[in-house]
């Protein structure tokens, strides 16, 4: 009751806010967190929060790129495979090829750029839907990771150093333990918010996803923007893969399997439209937190392991239905 009264004047001042998809996602996230916290006191323990924060950036970073891409009206199913391939290539180069870690990372970066560029060029220049192009790319990239490793995980990574600290170093705040990847996620999130909301480029991205022909007619280089977004998404997937591999000191050719759908779920649960034109980075951050909390919380409250996905799927579905209803309401109102 008190909370509802507190929110009244806010709702009056900005009628759009409470109906916005980010806001409803935030409300649901809060409810979820409360439910988990009540169901199991350990949910909000420093150890568990540290745990969630360790995983969050890895999918969250990919989700930022995916949000921009979806807003421009395309999506990328190859991110999970790139997440797996990039660290495999980098670590193989160092471990078996004797290449310097800096040079190996550069090679990994170039590889991600190439994958993104190929995705983008085929989608824009040949005009095949991004669903089909990136689905094929998923198979190619995952297949490459399996082939060059012969299907085995690499031997564990035993070379600490500047880059490991930069991407996956950890530090303690009181009894919390955080990884530097959290800073990466926060920094990249702020950048993405700036670009989408405040920069000229963000205006172009939304316009392209909303009505490509209209954007092109105004001289917006729609194809170039899309190609760069594919490259960005691929690079972010590779970065996330490196962060993860450094954190657990190991690279596996099957790492990141299924991440593409999890990431897309984070993005649309946050309120970004799958059809393009409407994207929200804040919503994506909420979505990433939500999926993380769900995965973590249902373990704690004792849902049997094999039943996780039932819950995750149902909660995602509920979120999407809610967004759709809000959208309808807004259209009528």
């Amino acid at each position: 009751m008190i909370a509802a009264e507190d929110e009244m004047p806010v709702g009056k001042r900005r009628p759009g806010l409470m109906r916005s998809p980010q806001f409803s996602s935030l409300v649901i996230l809060t409810v979820l967190l409360a439910v988990f916290a009540i169901a199991d006191a350990n949910f909000l323990s420093p150890l568990n929060i540290s745990n969630m924060m360790a995983f969050l950036p890895e999918l969250g970073i990919i989700a930022l790129g995916m949000t921009l891409l979806l807003t421009a009206g395309e999506f990328d199913l190859s991110v999970g495979a790139v997440f797996g391939l990039a660290p495999v290539v980098v670590m193989l180069l160092v471990q078996n090829g004797g290449v310097d870690i800096g040079a190996a990372l550069l090679a990994g970066l170039l590889l991600c750029i190439a994958i993104g560029a190929i995705n983008g060029l085929i989608v824009t220049k040949i005009g095949i839907s991004s669903f089909l192009v990136t689905l094929s790319m998923l198979l190619v990239v995952r297949g490459a990771a399996l082939y060059i490793t012969q299907g085995f995980p690499l031997k564990s990574w035993d070379q600490p150093g500047f880059f490991v600290t930069l991407l996956a170093g950890s530090f303690n705040v009181g009894s919390f333990r955080f990884y530097t990847s959290l800073w990466w996620f926060i920094g990249l999130s702020l950048l993405a918010i700036y670009v989408l909301r405040y920069a000229k480029l963000g205006n172009w991205i939304s316009a392209i996803g909303s009505n490509r022909n209209a954007a092109v007619a105004r001289g917006v280089p729609a194809d170039a923007v899309k190609v760069w977004l594919f490259i960005l998404t691929s690079v972010l997937a590779g970065l996330a893969g490196m962060i993860s591999a450094f954190r657990i000191s190991a690279a596996s050719p099957v790492a990141g399997t299924g991440y593409e759908l999890e990431v897309i779920a984070m993005v649309v649960v946050g309120g970004t439209a799958l059809t393009g034109g409407r994207g929200t980075i804040l919503g994506t951050i909420v979505g990433a937190l939500m999926l993380r909390a769900i995965r973590n919380g249902i373990v704690l409250i004792g849902v049997p392991g094999l039943a996780y996905n039932i819950f995750v799927g149902l909660i995602i579905l509920a979120m999407l239905i809610l967004h759709a209803l809000l959208q309808k309401n807004a259209a009528r109102g």
């Binding site: 000229k200 205006n203 316009a207 909303s210 009505n211 007619a217 917006v220 034109g277």
Partner: protein, 258 residues
Amino acid sequence: MEVLRLQNLQKSFGSVRALKNASFALKEGEVVALLGDNGAGKSTLIKAISGVFPIDRGDIYVRGEKVSIRSTRDAMDLGIETIHQDTSLAPDLSIARNLFLGREPVKLKWLGVFAPLDFAKLRDAASALLKRVGISKKLDADALVSTLSGGERQSIAISRAMQFAAKVIILDEPTNNLGVEETHGVLRFVKEVRDAGHSVLLITHNIHHVFQVADRIIVMRRGEIVAEQTVADTDLLTVESIITGADMSALLKETRAK
């Protein structure tokens, strides 16, 4: 003074020859109506002029100089603004953002595409513009275009063309789906634009509108320009028969027999 001249433009889509040898000229401060049945090639012609796709063959001159228009940006830079038949706005963007799409006012210009939008300027310019065009209902520059009526959207698109003071404004069926009042608004706008010295190329299926605002008429049929007349020298029935391709000689004989 000739603002725009097209010479022997040709454009095919696969086996469809949408434009065969189209030529005409547009003078300063004149309104030319481009008429023709569905599929005659009108939209194709203006898309070629506005850089939506490249032409296969032919020349375009702007103010006597031969130009090559390879992109919509080229056309805009030459002072050719087009309002396309298939709506030219992005529905998920605000009115203000649409008005300045592709020409956003920014701060810190050196940041290129990453430059921050100048929101104050954006909003002020948008409100001023909406007022100047005289859109009757008060529109909020921050409102999403998806919340507007078809007529309101058309007015926004037209204000946008006007704002950049283009030499040539091309309107592809601007009064489609508009109410009576909004239609009058658009026609009034066309006259205003001409009086301000711009040239207008107007595509429409409504011949009454043509006789209200146009100085000259060009008729297309199956990718070709088949007739060119000044409005003062012709009448509604003649124009109608040219468009449908009714046999003119038969018509003349008939008239003579009477």
